[in-house]
Amino acid sequence: MAATLLVGYATQQPHLYISAGITLLLKVIVIPLLLHRVITRLDVRWDVETLINIPMTMIIGIALVIFAFNLALPISKLSVSLARGTLGIALACVLLSFMMMITRSKAVPQVIGFLSMENGLFFAATSATYGMPMVVELGIALDVLVGILILGVFLFHIREQFDSLDISHLEKLKED
C-alpha cells in the first residue's frame, strides 16, 4: 500500500492513489476484520503447525528468494521504473507464500498464505508497471474480496462438518 502511494507520488499517476485507497480499504481494514471475526467465531488457537520443520523451511525459503531474484535479474536490468528490483521481491513473495501454503496443515494459515500471495501480486502490479488499468484493478479487488468471503463461509462449513479446521480431514478424495 505504501509502495503504491510511493509509486503514485513519484510518477504522478492519480489512479494509483485510488488504487492505494482500495488496497487500504481492502487489505488493511476489511480483510483483517473479516479474518479476525472468523477466527474468534471459530475459536482458533494460534500455533504454527508445519509439515516440514522450521529450519528446513527457512533454508528452502532462502533458496527460493535467491532463485526469484535470479529470475527477475534480466528483467530488472531492463526496467527503467522507479521500483527497479521490486519485481524480484514480488516474485520472492509469491513463491514464499506458495511454500507457506504447502507447509501449513491448517485451513486458516492456508488462507493467509493465499492472501500474502495476492499481496505479492499487487505489489508486482503496482511497482513494476505503475499499476494495472483501473477496471482490472477493481475487478481483481472484487474477486479477492468475494474470494475471502467465500473462504470464510467455507471455514464455517468445514468446521461444521469435521469439527476441526485441520485440513488433514480433507484427504478423503483420492485414488485408492
Binding site: F67, L95, F98, M101, I102, I167, K174
Partner: protein, 680 residues
C-alpha cells in the same frame, strides 16, 4: 446418398457408371437399416422382408462388381466428411474384386439370416437388421474409400457395427467380454492404420490416396508405414500375436454374423494390406516380404494346430480362419518378395493365389459358419462333445456342409485346393530369387504350407465327423430339425460358390486378372489365354491342373465301378446292428470324442499349448479327466501387459493421494521446473 459429383473422364459420358450403382446398393442397405430401426420388434417384417431384400442388394452388388472388374477406375466425391476432405470413393479392379466377395457372400448369408433370426437374440430383430446392414454397407465403403478419412470412418463403423452384432446377446457375460476384447483390439489396430496414413501423407496435409500414391517416401518412412499397416490390418485379420480376439468374438456372435466377419470382414484387412503395399507404397522392400511370410506361416501353423484341438465348433472354425489368414499373409509375403526383385509374373502368380484364396475362404468359411448356426438352432449346442449323428436328422445341412468341409480341407476338386495349389506353385518358382538365403528358406516354407494343409484336413474331418457322423451323443439330438427354406437357400448359394470356384479356376482367374495387373503390373496371361478347363500357370510342361477333368475322372470311376458291380454281381444289402466289439453295453457316449480326436495333435504339438490337465489316479472312486488347452500368448504377452498397465496405473495413482499440500507442491515444483527451463 446418391453421388452428387461423379468425375472420371470417359466414364462420365457413359450411362453405366458402376460406382453409382454400387453406392445405390449401399444406399439401399442403409435404407433397410433405417427401416429396421423403425420396425424394432416386428420379427416377420424384418426376417422375411428386410433380410431377403438386403440379399437381393448383395446379388446386385455381385453383378456390378463382376462387370466393374474389367473396367477402368471410377471416382466419386460425396459432399460429406471434412471440409477440405470430402469422402472420396474410387472403384478400381481391386475394390471391385472385394466388392464381388462382399456381394457374393452377403447373398447367401442374408438369405440364411432371413430364416435364422427366429427368436429374439437379446437384441430386438429390427436393431439387428440395422446393425447388419450397416455392417455390410460399411464394408463396401471401406473397399471403395479413396481417402484416409473416409477409409478410417468406414473402417471403424465396420468395427463398431460388428461389435454390436457380436454382443447381440449381451446378457451373457462371456459374450460381452468377447465383444470388448474384439473392439479393443480393433480400435488399437485402427489407430495403427491411422498412423500409417499419417506417414503416407508425408506432411502434405492431403489425405487422398491419390496424393499418397504420388508421394515418394524414403525407405525409412516407407518401412514405418508398412509396419504400422501390418500392425493395424493384422489386428483386424488376426495375425499372431494379435489374434486373441478372434476365437472369442466369432463364437460369441450369431452365426450369420460370424459368417460375415470370418468370410468377409477379415478380408477387408487383406484388402487394406494389398492397397497399402502395392498401391500406395508401390516399391516394396524385400524384407517386408520375408516378414509377412514369417508372420503368415506362424499364424497359419498356430491357427491350424489350435483348430485341431478345439471342442467348440465355432471356436474351431475361428482358429481355422486364423490359419487361412496366415496362408493369405504368407502368399502376400511371397508376392512382395517377387515384386521387390522385379519378378512381376511370379508376383502375379502369388497374388492370384492370394485373391483366389480370399474368395474361396470367404465362401467355404461362411458356409461352415452358417452351417454351425443351423446346428446351433436345431440343437442348442456348440460343444462338439455333445453333438453327433446329425446327418440323419439334418441331411440337408450335413450334405451341404460336406462341400464346405472338403473345400476347407483343401481337397481337390474344390475351391480351397486351387488356391493352395497356386500358392505351392509360386513357391516352387521361387528358386529364381537372387538371394541364396531366401532360396534356402523355400523348402522349409513349402513344407510348412503342406503340413498346414494336411492339418486342415485333419481338423475338418474332426469337425464334420464329430458333428454329423456317428451316433447322437445326447438323447435330444434325435429331435433336431433340419434347416428352414431360407436357410437352405443361403447355404446352397454358398456351397454353389465353393463348387464354382473349385471347378472353374481358369474362368475365375480370367475374371480377377485385372486385379493383379493393377497391383503388380502383370497378370496370368497364358493361363487365361488357354481358356480351357485346364489351369496352366506358366507352361503345360511345368504344371497344370484341371479340376473339371479331375472330377470327371473320379465320377466316371465311381459310376463305372458302381455299374459293373451291379451288373456283374448284385446289389443285395442287409441292415444290421453294428458290431459291438463283444461288449453289449456300449452306448453313444463311448464314441471317440472331439478331445480324443485332438489328442494326437495335443501330443505332437505340445509346446504350442498351455495345457492344464487333471488326471485321475488309479485309486479315485469317481475318476475324472479334464484338460484345458490355453494360449501361450495370453500368459506370455497379454496378461503381463495387463499386469504392467495395472502396475503403472497403481504407481500413477499414488500421485493422487488426497493431500492438498502435496497437490500444491506439484504445482510449485512444476512452476519451478518450468521457470528453470524457460530461463535457459
Amino acid at each position: 446418398m446418391p453421388p452428387i459429383v461423379t468425375a472420371g473422364g470417359l466414364l462420365a459420358a457413359t450411362l453405366w457408371v458402376h460406382l453409382d450403382w454400387v453406392l445405390l446398393v449401399v444406399a439401399a442397405w442403409l435404407l433397410i437399416a433405417v427401416v429396421g430401426v423403425f420396425a424394432l420388434r416386428r420379427l416377420t417384417l424384418v426376417a422375411r422382408v428386410l433380410f431377403p431384400v438386403g440379399g437381393a442388394g448383395g446379388l446386385a452388388l455381385l453383378g456390378i462388381a463382376l462387370s466393374a472388374l474389367q473396367g477402368s477406375p471410377e471416382v466419386a466425391v460425396l459432399p460429406i466428411g471434412l471440409p477440405q476432405l470430402p469422402f472420396h470413393f474410387r472403384l478400381d479392379s481391386l475394390s471391385a474384386f472385394f466388392l464381388m466377395v462382399i456381394g457374393g457372400i452377403s447373398v447367401g448369408v442374408s438369405a440364411f439370416a432371413a430364416g435364422y433370426f427366429r427368436k429374439g437374440e437379446g437384441t430386438p430383430p429390427g436393431l439387428l437388421a440395422f446393425e447388419y446392414h450397416l455392417f455390410l454397407a460399411s464394408m463396401v465403403l471401406v473397399v471403395l474409400a479413396d481417402d484416409a478419412y473416409a477409409f478410417m470412418v468406414m473402417w471403424e463403423t465396420m468395427a463398431l457395427s460388428s461389435f454390436f452384432l457380436v454382443t447381440a446377446n449381451h446378457r451373457i457375460v462371456e459374450i460381452q467380454r468377447a465383444g470388448y476384447l474384439y473392439l479393443l483390439v480393433a480400435h488399437i489396430g485402427a489407430i495403427g492404420i491411422l498412423l500409417c496414413f499419417g506417414v503416407l501423407q508425408a506432411n502434405s496435409g492431403d489425405y487422398t490416396f491419390a496424393n499418397m500414391r504420388a508421394q515418394q517416401l524414403s525407405p525409412f518412412w516407407a518401412s514405418l508405414a508398412f509396419l504400422l499397416a501390418l500392425f493395424g490390418f493384422g489386428a483386424k485379420a488376426g495375425i499372431l500375436p494379435l489374434h486373441v480376439w478372434l476365437p472369442e468374438a466369432h463364437p460369441a456372435a450369431p452365426s450369420p454374423v460370424s459368417a460375415l466377419m470370418s468370410g468377409v470382414m477379415l478380408k477387408t484387412a487383406i484388402y487394406g494390406v494389398l492397397r497399402v503395399l502395392f498401391d500406395l507404397l508401390q516399391t516394396p522392400i524385400w524384407w517386408w516380404g520375408l516378414l509377412l511370410l514369417t508372420v503368415g506361416l506362424a499364424t497359419a501353423l498356430f491357427g491350424v494346430v489350435f483348430a485341431a484341438v478345439q471342442v467348440d465348433m465355432k471356436r474351431l472354425l475361428a482358429y481355422s480362419s486364423i490359419e487361412n489368414i496366415g496362408l493369405l499373409f504368407s502368399g502376400i509375403g511371397l508376392a512382395v518378395l517377387f515384386s521387390a526383385y522385379g519378378m512381376q509374373p511370379m508376383a502375379a502368380l502369388a497374388l492370384t493365389a492370394v485373391l483366389y484364396h480370399v474368395a474361396g475362404h470367404a465362401f467355404f468359411k461362411s458356409l461352415l459358419f452358417v452351417g454351425t448356426g443351423a446346428v446351433l438352432h436345431a440343437t442348442g449346442e456348440r460343444n462338439l462333445g455333445k453333438l453327433g449323428g446329425l446327418i440323419r436328422c439334418m441331411p440337408w445341412v450335413a450334405w451341404v456342409m460336406l462341400i464346405g468341409v472338403l473345400a476347407s480341407a483343401g481337397l481337390p476338386p474344390l475351391g480351397g485346393f486351387v488356391s493352395e495349389w497356386l500358392l505351392l506353385q509360386s513357391f516352387l518358382f521361387s528358386p529364381g530369387l537372387p538371394s541364396a538365403f531366401l532360396n534356402m528358406l523355400i523348402p522349409v516354407v513349402a513344407a510348412l504350407i503342406a503340413l498346414i494343409g494336411a492339418l486342415a484336413g485333419y481338423t475338418m474331418v474332426k469337425f464334420f465327423g464329430v458333428i454329423f457322423l456317428g451316433q447322437p451323443r445326447e438323447e435330444r439330438l434325435a429331435q433336431a430339425h433340419d434347416a428352414s427354406g431360407w436357410e437352405r437357400l443361403g447355404m446352397l448359394w454358398l456351397a454353389a460358390g465353393c463348387l464354382v470356384l473349385g471347378l472353374c479356376p481358369v474362368q475365375f482367374i480370367a475374371v480377377i486378372d485385372p486385379v493383379t495387373q493393377l497391383l503388380v503390373g502383370a497378370g496370368m496371361g497364358e493361363a487365361i489365354a488357354a481358356g480351357s478347363w485346364l489351369l496352366v500357370p506358366v507352361a503345360i510342361e511345368r504344371a497344370s491342373y484341371g479340376p473339371a477333368i479331375f472330377l470327371l475322372g473320379v465320377a466316371a470311376s465311381f459310376a463305372l465301378a458302381f455299374l459293373l458291380v451291379r451288373l456283374l454281381y448284385h446289389g443285395r444289402l442287409r441292415r444290421a446292428a453294428p458290431w459291438d466289439c463283444g461288449y453289449p453295453w456300449q452306448n453313444a457316449r463311448m464314441q471317440d470324442t472331439a478331445e480324443g480326436f485332438g489328442q494326437p495333435i495335443r501330443q505332437i504339438f505340445e509346446p504350442f499349448f498351455r495345457m492344464e490337465r487333471e488326471l485321475p489316479s488309479p485309486f479315485d472312486a469317481a475318476p475324472h479327466y479334464r484338460v484345458r488347452v490355453g494360449d501361450h500368448f495370453w500368459h506370455w504377452l497379454y496378461l503381463p501387459l495387463a499386469a504392467l498397465v495395472e502396475r503403472l496405473a497403481r504407481l500413477i495413482g499414488l500421485l493422487q493421494q488426497g493431500r492438498i499440500a502435496v497437490y500444491l507442491l506439484y504445482s510449485f515444483v512444476t512452476l519451478m521446473i518450468v521457470l528453470a527451463v524457460v530461463k535457459q
